[in-house]
Symmetry: C2
C-alpha cells in the first residue's frame, strides 16, 4: 500500500527508510466493531440488540459494539465485545463486512467492521438490566440506530448462504438436538419449507450425525431421537467443491 503520493512516476528508487514516520502522517479514523449475534428460539431466528444510548437514536435498537482499542486485532475486539456482553467465550464469530459510509454515524466519520456470531440462546443468561438487552426477530425488527438495519441484512444474507455450505447451524442449537429442531432452524433461516423426509435423508446421508440414544422429553407427542453433530469427522472429511452454477 501507500506508494502513490511518495513515489512520483519515473522516480524508481526513492525508498522510504523510516516507515514509522510515513505512517505517522496517515489520516486516522475511528474504528469500531459491531456484532450481529444470532440466536434461535421458538422456531425463530433472533438477533441480540440493546437500546442505543445516543440521544438522536432515542428508543432505537442498536447492535452490540465497541471501539477497537489501540493495537487490538479486530477479531479480538469482536470476541471482547461478545465476552463483555454475553459472558460467553468459544462462540462462533466471523468477520463479514466493513461499513464506511462517511455519514453512517451522527457523531462524524466512524468506520465499523461487522461480525456475525452464532450462539445457543439456552446457554446464555441475559443481564436485562443493561440497556434492555433483548432478542429480536431478525426479519421484523425495525427502528434501528445508525445503519444497523443494513448491517443486519448483510449478515443475515451471509448466514443464509453460509449455513448451506457449512455446518454453522449447530452453533445455534443445544449440543443434543432432534432432527425436527434442526429442520426448523433451516426453515427459519432460509425462510422456506422443506420436505421432512428429504431433509432427514440428506442429513443422514452426510453421516455426520451421532445418535445419542437419548430422546426428547416433555413433549406431548412421540419423542424424537437426539443427535450430536460430529465436528471432528466433518473437519477430517472436508472436500473442495467444484461446480459452476449461476
Amino acid at each position: 500500500m501507500k506508494n502513490l503520493k511518495n513515489a512520483p512516476a519515473g522516480e524508481k528508487t526513492a525508498l522510504i527508510g523510516n516507515a514509522a514516520l510515513l505512517v505517522q502522517d496517515y489520516p486516522r479514523v475511528p474504528l469500531t466493531v459491531d456484532c450481529v449475534i444470532f440466536g434461535f428460539e421458538e422456531n425463530k431466528l433472533k438477533v441480540l440488540l440493546i437500546r442505543s444510548d445516543l440521544e438522536v437514536y432515542k428508543g432505537k435498537w442498536s447492535l452490540l459494539g465497541d471501539v477497537v482499542h489501540e493495537n487490538e486485532d479486530l477479531d479480538d475486539a469482536a470476541y471482547r465485545v461478545l465476552q463483555e456482553r454475553t459472558g460467553m467465550t468459544n462462540v462462533y464469530l466471523k468477520q463479514v463486512h466493513t461499513f464506511s459510509s462517511p455519514h453512517r454515524h451522527p457523531g462524524g466519520r466512524v468506520v465499523t467492521v461487522a461480525y456475525a456470531s452464532l450462539l445457543n440462546i439456552k446457554h446464555h443468561e441475559l443481564c436485562i438490566t443493561e440497556n434492555e438487552l433483548h432478542w429480536h426477530n431478525v426479519r421484523t425488527v425495525r427502528d434501528m440506530a445508525f445503519d444497523h438495519r443494513e448491517i443486519i441484512d448483510t449478515c443475515y444474507n451471509w448466514l443464509q448462504k453460509s449455513i448451506q455450505e457449512h455446518p454453522l447451524g449447530f452453533n445455534l442449537l443445544p449440543e443434543k438436538f432432534s432432527l425436527r429442531e434442526l429442520q426448523n432452524l433451516y426453515e427459519a433461516i432460509l425462510n422456506v419449507e422443506l420436505d421432512r423426509r428429504n431433509f432427514r435423508k440428506k442429513f443422514f446421508s452426510m453421516d455426520f450425525l451421532i445418535d445419542t440414544g437419548e430422546f426428547e422429553e416433555d413433549v406431548k407427542h412421540r419423542p424424537g431421537k437426539l443427535y450430536r453433530f460430529d465436528f471432528a469427522k466433518y473437519e477430517k472429511s472436508k472436500r473442495k467443491w467444484i461446480g459452476i452454477d449461476f
Copy 2:
C-alpha cells in the same frame, strides 16, 4: 456500537446528547485499502503488483493501495486506487476482508481493507515506469511485502468460490471470447482440468452466451466461435439457491 464505557450496568437512561463529542474521544487508526487486481493472460491468472517503496521491504512486491482519505467511503477509495493506477473505471471491484493484525505494517498499526478487482489485461496499458508495475502469476509469486501474500491468498480463495457462483470470469476476458478461452480461465482459476464437452454443454444450457457470428482470427487451427455474455438476461433471471451441502 459504543455503549459499554458510557453506560454502566443499571443506569438506564443516560443518553448521550452530543454524538460528535463522543466520537472525538474514540481511538483512531490509520486505514488503507489494498487492491488485489486479477487479470488473465497466457492461460494464467495474474495479479498486478509493484515494488514496495519501503526500505525494509526493498525488492519485495506489494499490492496497489493507498490511505483512505477523510470522509472517503472505502469503495470509493478502492476505485480511486484503481483509476489512478490503471486508468480504468467501470471495473469489477469487491470488498473481501479487513486485515488488522497490529504488527502487519512495520511503521506501526495500520488496518487495511482488501478489495478484489477483475480486469481484462488487454484493455489495460501498463505504465511500467511506476514502481515496476507488473503482472505476476498468482499462485507462484513470492517475496511479498507486508502481509500481502496472505491478502492475495484470501482474495484468491474468494475468487475461486465466487467464480463458481457468479459470472465474474467474463470481467477477465475480452468482450468477445471463445469457449476455449473461457474454459482456460476456469481451469486456471480453479486449478483443475475440465472436460471440454461437458464444459460447453454446461454453459450452453445456461443460455447466457450470445453467438456473435464472428470467429477467432490468427489462430493456426480451426477458429472457434466468439461469444458475448448476456449480462442483461442473467440479471433478470437470477434465482435464489436452496441446497444444503457440506
